[in-house]
């Protein structure tokens, strides 16, 4: 694999009685390389050492990565299965007793069978996640459809990557999160970054991002907040939350009007240009400014820079994707690259910053309600047949497509779904409109949760199964580049904990489905079946053997066979994945956020991450360093807005929307719009900002609009404050 100027040959420090296990971070899509330090006497993980030889991140890690190893032998680990006999205690930490695996499996098999006998196969559901290996993600899809036989499986990618997936599928006919490797990023001439707080959410991209400016290139950032990257940007497009599509259309209009369209590329390799050109005409700088709140000069300047840049990369993240028009936003910004032809060559392209460690791979192999391994469609009979051959079932036995993550909670509420198997996710914190979601969880007849800590969601379970952390199992994940990499095992599972794939195999056996699962005895067995199941799909992993991954520093999919080295750059042949080989330039009419501010709720609420925490915080809130750095959520307010409400820095105030309320410390900063407030989403119970967020779903991706809703602030009276404390 090519190594760039940031790569230096550096020896690692080796301490006596220690060995280093090469692996990657457990958290975000950067998947920074790291070495886990393992004591050879106790065989326990005791620390971390940089992995200088990993070409993407060359030893760098954010504070989550540096402290990630502390998860494994943490005091909060669940060491044995837990059973709660008193269902009235659901929604609390109380009432669990330790049990044997045998007892737990028996209880689950009995309850699941009873429920299905009484209410039909589809009364069970599986809610999964993508902070785990491809092998586990693959097997979870098979577990739901073959072992449980239910149509209802979906995953937390609906709260994360589904809009990017939907947008890329529409624009390119294929959903690979980045069309180019990360080692190209610092060599481009312009980065157009929309809705990504890169410095906090994907920090180890930053040395490449800054290098663009050091070389004299440009950084353009679209964000309602002046994030650390926006602070240094050449142009900061400080838009109102939820207005991205207007900005994308406005910039596209200027690119076309000012002659930056690449006519030859557009004619030969795309469809939809004329229609789109007509539609965006209306988005003059003035009109765009009216919709977005960004000054016209800034919009003009941004379009000029992007247009002139010999090479440019358009990048985005949840800021644009977690909207009820997230898919349109993705296609809208992707239009910029397609119209100017800045794609399908090195140093130019489009990329999304994948949020979860395996947000890319985990969405490709059949955890989504309508997908099967290899990005196959469950509605396509040919695809179903191919997967049935690997699974050994008949096409008639393959369940129908189910519904999206949030919609599963609606089905729980109306008792269509009565049982839940939850793993690798914490929807009691991460789902929107939490008052509703928590009620739905509480109302379930029977719920199983597999996790290595007792998460807020596990508090709703009848049975909790102890799974392992990432360092106690092996397998592959696919990073934000689309590079398949290898996670290695550094320690034996703590206590009686087991990897999710093993739990599912053993549970399938108790459910009488052993013949489809019992041959899977190791993670490698699952990997081999999974590669086969993906073969021929367009997310083809067949050629990505563990050996090749090791030798090549990862393998970019598609990788079809032994001799295929993988595909770091997409579309070099200018062939897109739609049947006619062309990409689609999309004409996208603008729609405002689902809930616009009004007199009663005059503020725009937006949510996001801080650098110290990951997703629902179930892992990072337990790590002392990270907890100390950010122990509780806060609400960011502009000083002028704070003055209007007579609120002081660090005062506790009530923030509320039509759906819920919570009390937060005020953090005054000029680095946010006056009409916008921001709260990080990593916190549980009464501190969850998702008590307030809106479940307005994107029509295609079914992504909730976490990034924009209407809210109001209020001072908390002293008497009430005492009660809260």
């Amino acid at each position: 694999m090519q190594r760039d100027k940031f790569f230096k040959e550096i020896e690692n420090v080796r301490h006596p009685n220690e060995t280093l296990v090469k692996t990657h971070c457990s958290y975000c899509g950067m998947q920074c390389g790291m070495n886990l330090r393992v004591n050879t006497v106790t065989n326990k993980i005791i620390g971390v050492e940089p992995r200088y030889d990993w070409p993407v991140t060359v030893g760098k890690m954010c504070p989550k990565g540096v402290t990630a190893y502390q998860q494994t032998n943490h005091d909060d680990r669940i060491l044995k299965p837990l059973i709660r006999d008193d269902a009235s205690l659901k929604g609390t930490k109380e009432g669990f007793r330790e049990a044997s695996w045998e007892e737990a499996y028996e209880l689950i098999a009995k309850k699941f069978t009873e429920l299905q006998k009484q209410y039909g196969k589809d009364t069970l559901s599986v809610f999964s996640g993508v902070s785990m290996t491809n092998e586990k993600c693959y097997l979870t899809g098979k577990f739901a459809r073959v072992a449980l036989g239910t149509r209802y499986i979906d995953y937390n990618g609906r709260f994360c990557m589904s809009s990017a997936a939907g947008g890329f599928l529409r624009s390119f006919g294929v959903d690979r999160g980045s069309t180019l490797p990360w080692t190209d990023i610092h060599e481009t001439d312009c980065l157009f970054i929309a809705g990504s707080n890169t410095a906090e959410c994907h920090p180890t991209s930053m040395f490449r991002v800054w290098n663009v400016q050091e070389r004299g290139g440009y950084i353009i950032v679209a964000d309602p907040r002046e994030t650390p990257i926006a602070r240094r940007a050449d142009v900061h497009l400080d838009l109102k939350p939820g207005t991205d599509l207007a900005l994308a259309n406005g910039i596209l209009n200027l690119l076309i009007q000012n002659g930056y369209a690449d006519e030859e590329f557009v004619n030969q390799h795309t469809n939809g240009f004329e229609e789109t050109k007509e539609l965006v005409k209306e988005f003059t700088p003035e009109y765009t400014s009216e919709l977005t709140g960004v000054a016209p000069e800034k919009i003009i300047r941004a379009a000029e820079i992007y247009g002139k840049a010999p090479n440019a990369v358009v990048m985005f993240a949840r800021g644009i994707e977690q909207q009820h028009k997230g898919v349109d936003n993705v296609s809208g910004y992707t239009n910029m690259a397609l119209v100017t032809g800045k794609i399908g060559r090195p140093k130019s392209g489009v990329a999304t910053f994948t949020g979860q460690g395996n947000g890319q791979g985990g969405r490709e192999h059949g955890q989504k309600s309508d997908l099967l391994p290899g990005y196959r469609k469950i509605t396509n009979p040919e695809h179903v047949r191919e997967v049935c051959q690997v699974w050994g079932i008949t096409p008639e036995e393959m369940p129908e497509p189910g519904v999206s993550a949030y919609e599963m909670f609606e089905l729980m509420e109306e008792k269509t779904i009565r049982g839940l198997y939850l793993l690798c996710s914490n929807p009691a914190v991460s789902a929107p409109n939490l008052n509703f979601v928590r009620k739905a969880l509480k109302g379930l007849d029977f719920m199983v949760c597999a996790d290595f800590y007792l998460s807020e969601s596990a508090e709703f379970a009848d049975v909790v199964l102890p799974s392992v952390t990432w360092s106690e199992d092996e397998g592959t994940v696919t990073n934000l580049e689309g590079r398949i990499i290898k996670i290695n095992k550094a320690q034996e599972p703590l206590g009686e904990s087991k990897p999710d794939w093993q739990i599912q195999v053993e549970l399938a056996e108790r459910l009488g489905k052993g013949k489809y699962f019992s041959h899977l005895k190791t993670a490698k067995d699952v990997a081999d079946e999974f590669r086969l199941a993906s073969k021929g799909g367009y997310a083809d992993y067949y050629g990505a053997t563990w050996d090749k991954i090791d030798k090549q520093d990862g393998v970019f999919w598609p990788c079809k066979d032994e001799n295929d080295q993988g595909t770091p750059h997409m579309f070099l042949d200018k062939k897109f994945y739609h049947p006619d080989g062309k990409a689609k330039i999309c004409a996208l009419p603008y729609r405002p956020p689902a809930e616009e501010p009004d007199e009663k709720y005059p503020l725009r609420l937006t949510t996001g991450r801080v650098v110290y925490h990951y997703l629902s915080g179930n892992q990072t809130r337990r790590i002392p360093f990270l907890r100390d750095m950010c122990p509780e959520p806060f609400v960011e307010v502009h000083p002028e807005t704070a003055a209007k409400y007579k609120m002081d820095h660090e005062e506790r105030v009530r923030l509320f929307t039509r759906r819920g309320e919570a009390i937060y410390k005020v953090k005054i900063t000029e680095a946010i719009r006056k009409d916008t407030v921001f709260v990080p989403y990593h916190f549980g119970h009464e501190q969850s900002i998702n008590l307030l967020t809106i479940a307005a779903l994107d029509p295609i991706s079914r992504m909730p609009e976490y990034k924009a809703c209407a809210a109001q602030l209020e001072k908390v009276e002293k008497a009430e404050m005492k009660k809260v404390q």
Partner: protein
């Protein structure tokens, strides 16, 4: 082994505090960090900057120590106080112009950045500079630092906080915010 130095490019800092987390991970650091990250103007913007020992060539901390507890390593690194010599007088914490040495009241012992001497004595970069995601902290040869100097000039013609900004010459080199002022744009 070409000599390398710690080099700080303050403009790059994104405030992630990975350098603090990493400092706890170096062998012999007893999981306590010895560096600092400041919010420059927290109510206004998100600018931050790291500060750690600059490893003065003629260190005020060592000069102020009545017990010779602060040794200077042959690489130039100004080490943490020797447990057997430190008398806990805290002279060094006052003498250091940057307030670097920290004090452990329980152990009655000063501790400070030792430039990760366990690593840097063998030419391996310190933990903080290894992990820093933004390249604010780098581990460079003098030649690489010279190139930086030519690449980045502040509009006052200066870039390194050596004399007259500092008390004296330091082994660690610092590049002030504003590095991009002199960069010629590509187009």
């Amino acid at each position: 082994m070409t000599k390398k130095r710690l080099y700080l490019e303050l403009e790059n800092c994104i405030g992630c505090r990975s350098c603090l987390a990493a400092c706890t991970q170096c062998g012999g650091h007893e999981e306590r960090n010895r560096n600092y990250v400041y919010d420059v103007n927290p109510l206004v913007n998100r600018q931050t900057m790291p500060l750690m020992c600059l490893h003065c060539v003629n260190p005020a901390c060592a000069r102020s120590c009545p017990a010779q507890a602060i040794q200077i390593h042959e690489t130039g690194a100004v080490l943490s106080a020797l447990v057997e010599k430190c008398i806990g007088c805290q002279n060094c914490t006052i003498a250091c112009p940057y307030g670097i040495p920290k004090f452990d009241t329980e152990q009655n012992l000063m501790y400070k950045c030792d430039l990760c001497i366990d690593r840097t004595k063998d030419g391996i970069p310190p933990m903080c500079a290894s992990v820093c995601p933004s390249n604010t902290l780098q581990w460079l040869t003098d030649e690489e630092i010279e190139n930086k100097k030519q690449q980045f000039n502040l509009d006052n013609g200066k870039w390194v906080t050596s004399l007259p900004y500092l008390e004296g010459e330091t082994n660690v080199k610092v590049n002030l915010p504003g590095i991009l002022q002199g960069v010629t744009k590509l187009f």
